[in-house]
Symmetry: C2
Subunit: 188 residues, 2 copies
DNA sequence: GAGGTTGTTTAATGTGCGTTACAGAAGCAC
DNA sequence: GTGCTTCTGTAACGCACATTAAACAACCTC
């Protein structure tokens, strides 16, 4: 047996990306524990061994689904936070999050926020928000680092809360209302 | 067989209330799906048939645990909302919630907020908050019913967010920080 | 065509779950 | 003591789950 070049073999009969999107939607909607491998197979129209061959076990599938989910999310986060002022950055983040949490054709809420297993990723997001606000403190937009951390805790809270409300069926207008009220907080 | 008076039989060897508290803690910490009947039995030190005889099946046990949890919670909510002004009511609610979500000797966060199955109870809480704020609109403390509903959506968001942050390990100071910033929102 | 590699299908594996049958133990009334 | 009732302990039930073994099918290279 040689390791020269990849052998071809029988071609896959399903769209791997489509199956991953299906799995991502399922985890997003019902969480890791709320989704069985058999359910993903049923929704994707493939048998279990095909899924295992393509993605590994359930945990690996979940991680790949999360990677797909956070791919666009991280881009959006960085775009919003790169606004010239922290105030604008926060306003953009809250608004775009409200929109994302209530996007049609997708489950309400946020996979990262809802899934207990993704606490580490939530921490990373919060680190980025805090970093942006601390920068605002050094630039004089906020009074101090402590003030920046307080605003960061508040923004984290509103983000998590909007995701929770969306999951409970709140519509986009309600979330945008909450985001608008949150923006009033900004220290004058 | 007569239905006259209750027969005595062998007395129970465990403290029913203590077992229910144990179950409540378990559900609070790990959610309905994250808790098995066997785990509750192990933590409570009783066998499954004893638990089933005392509380019924898992769903009934969960409902009784929730009733125990919300018993004190509803009292606190009504106490906070009965403050003379809506602003003070909201400030009290946010502060006491932050404290409850980080109380020592109890799991962090909130059983009602974390458990997907309790959406109805969350709705009831939100109805009470909205009702208090609409009252403030009729009393002239807020500009309009629409304004009251906006503030209510914001308060709902902050409450849910604080519970989520607490679950992720945020300490009491951080939650109180968020609550304090949220109070700044109040329309002047 | 033969040989090799990979995908599919069916059926099975083992594990943990919620739940219960059953036999014995512990109390009360008489 | 004998009845009656209720609780306890062990062991089992059926089911859903994640995962895989084994046989077959489809493609490539030669």
């Amino acid at each position: 047996m040689r390791y020269s070049s990849r052998m071809t073999g029988r071609p896959r009969t399903f769209d791997k990306d489509a199956v991953l999107r299906t799995a991502m939607h399922a985890f997003w909607e019902r969480g890791y524990d709320g989704v069985s491998v058999a359910q993903v197979c049923g929704e994707a129209g493939i048998a279990a061994p095909s899924l295992y061959a393509a993605f590994g076990d359930k945990k690996a599938l979940f991680e790949k689904a999360c990677a797909l989910y956070t791919e666009h999310l991280d881009e959006d986060l960085e775009r919003d936070l790169s606004a010239p002022t922290a105030r604008e950055a926060v306003e953009r983040l809250l608004r775009s999050s409200a929109e994302h949490f209530t996007a049609s054709g997708q489950p309400p809420g946020c996979l990262v926020m809802s899934e207990p297993r993704l606490a580490e990723r939530r921490d990373r997001t919060r680190d980025m928000i805090r970093a942006r606000l601390r920068r605002a403190a050094t630039e004089g937009e906020l009074a101090s680092t402590a003030e920046a951390d307080g605003v960061a805790a508040f923004v984290d809270t509103v983000l998590a809360g909007m995701a929770a409300l969306a999951r409970d069926g709140a519509d986009r207008a309600r979330l945008l209302d909450a985001a608008r009220h949150a923006a009033r907080t900004w220290p004058a």
